[in-house]
């Protein structure tokens, strides 16, 4: 099984290296197929690892303290970094949690890379794209397989790098370059807080293994700081408030990148991190609940902003933020398996939504404004029905997959039974209404009805089936099926193999395990909320029976994304840039850089003055001699 883990990790890296070394000698089509096949090989490795995995249970004492053994099998290639008694191996962990993530990343990843072959066809730099995307899959697999905290951080940083490279793939667009930099810098901030948390652990335990980190006993303040550091990294990577502003801009990247990195895998890494390091968070329960609170807040804020977006990809991007908010809520309250289950179904339906959006964008020669797209469904029936499957899964209408995963999370909030538990619950249900509203706003604006003039003018058929190359249609079809049936794996009140599978690595907290009653009434509430949202969207955008309420202030706030960008610009970027500029103009140039020349001139001047003493006249020298001798004598006399 460890062989499978290594195969899974290294196959995409091999793909990257092959494409890089091949360079221009490689036919463009070949690059795509190398990348795709390497990711599918990784999937085979993941299946191999999955089949062989066995995880031990944590042993809990009578007083409630638990000992967490390494929850799976560790495999070390070599000592990566060592100093004194501190040593970290290039180490993988194969356990229930990591294998599930491996399957999702390489499975969904393989489909999206296959889709890219059609989507990127004809781009002059196709090879570079496929080298990057295979490198991303490698990095993401390192993140989820990493067998200690440092390896996790390495994967964490490398996915950030590949995300930067792919957001800025079209590097002649200034907006893409800007978005790429923004994403990287915000994530570097998260990396830094994680590193600080690790420094605390090293100072106290001298190690970064999961085992020592999970079983360390620190003061509650220190423990909270460690958890906060990790939470900073998680929030940055998963675009949660207050580190969320980079994700919408990241839509500048090619659409398959948005599907893979900014929907299905990388942005959900924060959820994985919390599930993976849950013993640390459980010892700092307040911080864990803060994570849940951040999730609840983000899911509402993002859902609201999604209501006013006009770019098809940005609507889906805000929806991603909102859905990750649900996942944070789940893992934050302690329902790790529910959060992870939603991560999986979300990977299916959100990748599907992005890829169908990609088909639409392709057919319209790059247009992304939903106000121009009306009636596209008539020309693209396959896209339309697949999108509908994804949309229903997103809203959580049974029997589509989102229903099964989202409701459990909200029910877990109810299970807490505390005042904040009920606030979380209300946020979750309100979020379901918003989800129905913004998703079907998108649907009614784009697909039903007669094609608009713009669509008729710009639509063109592609591929043998008219809606795209077969490499694009097959993954969309597969994901449409998964988005529909993927949730049937688990329905919490009746059967829960997924939760059981994860139990050894991340078992749900007893306080967050909902009863069946809670599950039922939560499901009823969210489905009703979702249907109400759909109904409002239908009334406003399809039948136009209801006018959009006139609220210029609210609209302005939403269109400006609650002013986070402007705030951060004023608060951080501009002061830093101003300080740096002032330092250069007022200190570096006049003081530091002038010291040298000033010293030089002073030396020269002093030399010039001394030179004037060298008159060449004997009488001057005698005079100096006399003065000198007198001074020496005086000095001696005084000293005595």
């Amino acid at each position: 099984m460890t062989g499978g883990a290594w195969l899974c990790l290294l196959a995409p890296l091999g793909g990257t290296i092959a494409i890089l070394l091949g360079g221009n000698r490689l036919p463009r089509v070949a690059a795509g197929w190398i990348a795709t096949s390497s990711v599918f090989v990784a999937f085979a490795g993941a299946v191999w690892a999955f089949i062989g995995v066995r995880g031990p249970q944590p042993t809990c004492g009578a007083l409630g303290g638990c000992f967490y053994p390494p929850p799976g099998e560790l495999t070390t290639a070599w000592t990566w970094l060592a100093s004194g008694h501190f040593s970290v191996g290039l180490q993988l962990l194969v356990d229930p949690l990591s294998t599930v993530m491996m399957l999702i990343v390489s499975g969904v990843g393989g489909l999206i890379v296959l889709y890219s072959i059609g989507y990127m066809h004809g781009d002059p730099e196709e090879r570079r794209y496929f080298a990057y995307i295979a490198f991303f899959v490698f990095s993401m697999l390192l993140l989820v397989e990493g067998g200690n905290l440092l390896m996790l951080l390495v994967g964490w940083g490398l996915v950030g790098l590949s995300s930067y490279l792919l957001i800025g793939f079209w590097h002649e667009r200034p907006s893409a370059v800007q978005a790429a930099k923004k994403a990287f810098v915000m994530n570097a901030f998260g990396d830094a807080t994680m590193a600080l948390a690790f420094f605390i652990l090293i100072a106290h335990t001298g190690s970064l293994s999961f085992e020592s980190a999970f079983n360390v006993h620190l003061s509650s303040t220190t423990q909270s700081l460690v958890a906060l550091g990790l939470l900073g990294g998680a929030a940055a990577k998963s675009a949660q408030i207050p580190l969320q502003t980079w994700l919408p801009d990241a839509m500048e990247g090619p659409t398959p990148v948005s599907a893979l990195i900014h929907a299905a895998t990388m942005v959900t890494a924060g959820v994985y991190l919390i599930a993976r390091t849950h013993p640390i968070f459980e010892q700092a329960r307040t911080v864990e609940l803060i994570a849940a609170g951040i999730g609840a807040l983000t899911l509402l804020v993002a859902g609201l902003i999604a209501l006013v977006q006009t770019d098809i990809k940005r609507v889906i991007a805000y929806s991603t933020m909102s859905q990750i908010g649900y996942m944070f809520l789940g893992v934050g309250v302690g329902a790790y398996s529910s959060g992870m289950f939603h991560l999986m179904t979300h990977a299916f339906f959100k990748a599907l939504l992005f890829m169908t959006a990609g088909l639409a964008i392709h057919a319209l020669s790059g247009e992304q404004d939903i106000r121009k797209m009306r009636g596209l469904g008539k020309l693209m029936p396959f896209t339309k029905w697949c999108f509908l499957a994804g949309a229903l899964a997103l809203v959580g209408i049974p029997p589509f997959s989102g229903f099964f995963s989202k409701d459990s999370i909200i029910a877990s909030a109810a299970a807490l039974g505390t005042w904040y538990g009920w606030i979380f619950w209300l946020c979750g249900v309100a979020g379901a209404l918003l989800t129905g509203l913004y998703t079907f706003r998108l649907w009614f604006l784009v697909f039903p009805g007669e094609p608009s003039a713009f669509v008729q003018e710009h639509h063109h058929k592609e591929g043998r089936f008219g809606e795209g190359h077969w490499t694009m249609l097959v993954p969309v079809g597969v994901l449409a099926v998964l988005a529909t049936v993927g949730g049937w794996l688990q329905w919490a009140p009746l059967w829960h193999p997924f939760t059981n599978w994860l139990a050894p690595a991340a078992s749900t907290l007893a306080a967050a395990a909902p009863t069946n009653t809670q599950e039922y009434y939560t499901s009823a509430a969210t489905v009703i909320a979702g249907l109400v949202g759909i109904a409002i969207a239908w009334a406003i955008y399809s039948e136009e029976r209801v006018k959009i309420p006139y609220a210029p202030f609210a609209q302005r706030v939403l269109e400006n994304k609650f002013y986070f960008d402007a705030l951060y610009d004023r608060l951080f970027y501009r002061p830093a840039a101003a300080i740096a500029t002032d330092l250069r103009i007022d200190f570096e140039e006049p003081v530091i850089l002038q010291t040298g020349p000033d010293l030089g001139e002073t030396t020269l001047e002093a030399g010039g003055m001394v030179r004037r003493l060298q008159t060449g006249f004997l009488r001057t020298y005698v005079l100096f001699l006399a003065f000198g001798a007198a001074a020496v004598v005086l000095a001696f006399l005084i000293a005595k």
């Binding site: 970094l81 100093s83 570079r128 940083g157 930067y164 830094a192 100072a203 020349p597 030089g600």
Partner: protein, 484 residues
């Protein structure tokens, strides 16, 4: 097994080569080729030395000692420790790349130029292996002379101003160090670094430290740095920031900290503050610099601060991280300045407002710059990340706020390095970027690619250095015990 002659050969082979290159009336091409041959032979010899070095044995190895001024206690004493092996390796590799660059661009007056480059190689190796203070001082000064000439003769338009500044700063430091060396030697009746006792004199410590902080440099002693790095030929800047600057940091590690343990801990907070200031100040100025070399120059200032932070943390992780970071940053900085040279040759400028869009149609240049750039901003998984991580984890054990400042600087590093990458490679085509400006040529690739390959290897296995620099399981104790 001992192969002690290797150390001396590593110093004197390039010096002999310098004399030969200078005397032989060869053609331009043959002169360069001969110099390259010597540089590559150095690399080969170093590989031999590293292979023979026994990392499991304590103390000095491959040692050579001959009486020089017996009654003064001066001897020609050279030898290597684990960390010196890595720094010598950095020197010979970076010097070979820089010499090759000079060969590639065809510097004027080749005999003088290549003789000086070889002389510089020998002197720098000498600094890293000298075990006698007088020998150390001699090499430290010998290193400067070729640099003065290389900058003053082959530099850019304002080279004379830059040279004068450089001379003034470095001479000021050197003279104080000379005074400190004499005073130390007279007190201890020996100038030997291995046998010499520890001293408690704060004045002597400060005398040494001043020379080292100017060389490294640390804030606010970097007045010479921006102009020098801008005006020197790119390959000279490359070794200046990649290798020569490390001599100052090496001096702290080899002399200032172990020989003056009490003053070092007395002034610890002050030095850490200077180092942190260099880190933050350098990062901020790098972020606002308007040209390629300016960004890399100030980022070198920041990196020197970071390394000094690790050294003066006085912890195991700090020392190991500092040595790792010296080598990793040495390779990064050498590569970046050579790439700056590559860009300048095609566009005649390093000004960002005149550059841009070079990635289109130049995949090799883009790949090299992006690879080195992201390693330099310490993307997790890179050798520089490993070094920074150890340093900050080490200084965290001293006090948390140093690490917090360092973590903040990581974010700044991302900002200035990505700005550099984009300004050169991305967005619209700059006004000086001609369509016919070529991608990196095979000759240039042959110089830069090995450096990048070295960085990738180190990224795959940073423990190669971090775990093989000091004998034993506690670098801090080894340094305190004067490496015995």
């Amino acid at each position: 097994m001992s192969a002690s002659y290797l150390t001396s050969i590593l110093i004197w082979l390039p010096v002999a080569g310098a004399i030969l290159v200078w005397l032989l009336p060869l053609s331009r091409y043959a002169t360069g080729a001969l110099a390259m041959l010597f540089s590559l032979a150095e690399v080969g010899l170093w590989i031999e030395q590293a292979a023979r070095f026994d990392f499991s044995r304590p103390g000095l190895q491959m040692e050579e000692r001959a009486r020089w001024f017996g009654d003064l206690g001066v001897s020609y004493h050279v030898g290597v420790y684990g960390f010196s092996v890595w720094l010598v390796g950095l020197t010979v590799v970076a010097m070979a790349a820089a010499t090759g660059y000079g060969f590639w661009v065809g510097r004027d007056r080749p005999r003088g130029y290549f003789a000086l480059m070889l002389l510089l190689t020998g002197a720098t190796v000498g600094v890293f292996v000298a075990q006698d203070l007088v020998v150390f001082y001699a090499f430290f000064e010998a290193m400067l002379i070729p640099l003065y000439v290389l900058i003053g003769v082959w530099g850019g338009a304002r080279r004379m101003d830059a040279t004068i500044k450089f001379v003034l700063y470095t001479m000021a430091g050197s003279l104080l160090m000379l005074a400190a060396i004499v005073a130390y030697g007279l007190q201890a009746h020996t100038f030997d670094l291995v046998d010499g006792p520890a001293s408690g004199s704060r004045w002597l410590f400060l005398g040494f430290m001043l020379a080292f902080v100017i060389k490294a440099p640390l804030f606010p002693f970097h007045g010479w740095l921006p102009d020098t790095y801008r005006e020197a030929p790119p390959e000279v800047t490359a070794v200046l920031s990649g290798v020569i600057a490390k001599a100052g940091l090496y001096g702290m590690l080899r002399i200032a900290i172990p020989k003056f343990p009490d003053p070092a801990s007395f002034y610890r907070t002050a030095v850490l503050a200077l180092a942190a200031a260099a880190l933050v100040y350098g990062s901020l100025l790098a972020f606002r610099s308007t040209d390629f070399r300016g960004v890399v120059a100030y980022s070198s200032l920041a990196q020197s601060g970071l390394i000094a932070l690790g050294l003066f943390a006085g912890t195991d992780l700090g020392f190991d991280g500092a040595v790792l970071q010296m080598v990793a940053h040495g390779l990064v900085s050498t590569s970046l300045f050579l790439i700056a040279g590559v860009v300048e040759r095609r566009t005649t400028t390093g000004e960002f407002r005149l550059l841009g869009g070079m990635a289109r149609g130049r995949p090799a240049l883009a790949t090299l710059l992006i690879a080195v750039g992201v390693i330099s901003l310490a993307v997790p998984g890179s050798a520089n990340f490993a070094g920074e991580f150890l340093i900050l984890a080490g200084v965290f054990q001293r006090a948390w706020w140093w690490a917090a400042i360092g973590a903040g600087a990581i974010v700044l590093a991302a900002m200035y390095m990505l700005r550099l990458i984009s300004a050169v490679l991305h967005d619209a085509r700059g006004s000086t970027v001609a369509d016919e400006a070529l991608d990196v040529r095979p000759g240039e690739l042959a110089l830069i690619a090995p450096l990048v390959a070295g960085l990738l290897l180190l990224s795959a296995w940073p423990a190669a250095i971090s775990h093989h620099s000091f004998f034993g399981n506690s670098p801090a104790a080894t340094v305190k015990g004067q490496f015995k």
